[in-house]
Symmetry: C2
Subunit: 309 residues, 2 copies
């Protein structure tokens, strides 16, 4: 790439003159007097080394060299103007692309809400969403694969990442409606000691998995895992099929499946937290916008009320 030889104003003058083919009019369009325009063109022609316009009395025309230069000049100017506008749009966060990782369990609750309001406020922003569990999200944030994470149980030892809790929710027990405990409004955890469990494999979310098994341990038993499933949808389906019961974040109540009941558990102290994560040193305005959206969009009412029927 060579160093540029030609000032842009000269090219601009050239293009305008090429359109007007009249020094006076072109100067007027450029908002300058006519002599300066003559000079601009002259300087440009000097640099090019050849005449670009042929001035015959009564009419100004492009020379072959001028005809050759015109499209390139025009192109360069519009490229630049467009690129500048695009860069400004991106810089201001009006348009752009944001890469978001999210935990599968949020696909029914936090995520759609967030996407909806964000898209509404920034229709020019393209959102790339990738379903991924917590640990990969942390890694992806570090290597810039994603810009925003939506995850459960944020780690506490990350100095370069920021976390903000979006939702803190209790656990519910997932039962087939035929299960004797489904008749109660509230289930004592220990009552599940003898039921087989359907859980997500530990690898897809160690923190959550450990928290669930920890709850059981605290209640005095070790859950008997009869079956694993990688999606909450599937877990619910398996519960409905009678393969066992499950413990899950309250927000999965959104999965309405005939034959499946959700019941509050006792003790209800244990909660699982959903957080947004971002790189603290990321100055991408879209990240700021998204965090602002999260803050302004009030978190869903914690599911303590009788939201299920």
């Amino acid at each position: 790439m060579e160093r540029p030889e030609i000032p842009l104003p000269q090219l601009h003058a050239f293009v305008v003159l090429a359109e007007e083919l009249h020094f006076g009019h072109a100067a007027a369009r450029l908002g300058i007097a006519q002599p300066p325009l003559s000079q601009q063109i002259r300087r440009l022609e000097d640099k090019v080394g050849h005449a670009l316009f042929s001035r015959e009395p009564g009419r100004v025309t492009l020379t072959p060299a001028g005809r050759e230069l015109l499209p390139a000049a025009r192109q360069a100017l519009t490229d630049l103007a467009d690129g500048l506008a695009a860069a400004r749009a991106v810089g201001s966060g009006r348009v752009g692309r944001l890469k978001i990782g999210f935990a599968a369990s949020l696909a029914l609750t936090v995520l759609p809400r967030l996407l909806r309001t964000f898209r509404q406020r920034f229709p020019g922003v393209h959102l790339d969403i990738h379903e991924m569990t917590t640990a990969p999200q942390i890694a992806a944030l570090h290597n810039n694969t994603i810009d925003i994470g939506l995850l459960r149980e944020p780690p506490t030892d990350e100095t370069e990442l920021g976390f903000k809790t979006v939702l803190s929710e209790p656990f519910v027990v997932v039962l087939p409606t035929t299960h004797p405990l489904a008749a109660q409004r509230t289930v004592q955890l220990v009552q599940l000691a003898d039921s087989p469990f359907v859980l997500l494999p530990r690898v897809v979310g160690p923190q959550l998995h450990d928290q669930i098994t920890g709850l059981c341990t605290a209640a005095g038993f070790t859950p008997q895992v009869a079956q694993h499933a990688v999606e909450w949808q599937t877990v619910c389906a398996l519960v409905e099929a009678g393969l066992g019961v499950s413990l899950a974040p309250a927000s999965i109540r959104r999965i309405r499946l005939k034959g499946v009941a959700f019941r509050r558990i006792e003790p209800s102290t244990a909660r699982t937290r959903v957080a947004v994560a971002w790189r603290k040193n990321d100055h991408n305005p879209l990240v700021t916008h998204l965090l602002a959206t999260v803050s302004q969009d009030p978190p869903e009412r914690p599911s303590t009320g009788p939201a299920w029927s």
Copy 2:
């Protein structure tokens, strides 16, 4: 088209820095010290209104806005450089396009010679050649449809056009070999008084036509035109078929057709001139080049020698 806001050197610096992602190295590549580069980038960022690079200790990276601007900047710079080079090439006459009109009767003599040597000297120049008679050539020169004319009998009342004689040649008589006169080396014009003539229609070249009939008139007879044909090839073919005889510029001897003989005429004073024509106010270097080629390329030996057999 807006007035350009951004000096090109800043864009150049931007592109180089975007490639190097290192102020020191980029500055070195630009051949300047590092602080000026910092300033360039800073000024550019000020104008854009957003940071284009994120400077974290140890590494410089493009921001989304910078990534957006980069291709446009690069494109504009290369467009410009290319356009400039192209304009210079055209301006210098190394490449380009030249529109040439030529009289049909030259297709076998002057034209191919000229094209060959010109192409050899200016391989980058595209030649558009159009067969057209004298009057249309004059008109086409005036309205810029062609840049160069190759015609017979240039008019003398054209002030805006320049003419240069390329070739001055005598007339020959075209005879079927079976014709009694074909036995002679030279034919007295008046001997053709009783033969039917095959000629080009007057409209395709009034000057030449009038000159031919004028020759006959001067010899004391009016030629009996038995047949018209618009191409010399055809004229010869018709002569060969015995439809008549013809008078033609000597250069059509190039048409070798069995059964057709060409003979010098007496008196041999009458000559037809072939000229190049151009607009005097045309500063297209290609025109100059072509005229120079014509001058340097010596005109064909006038056909007075025993060049036919």
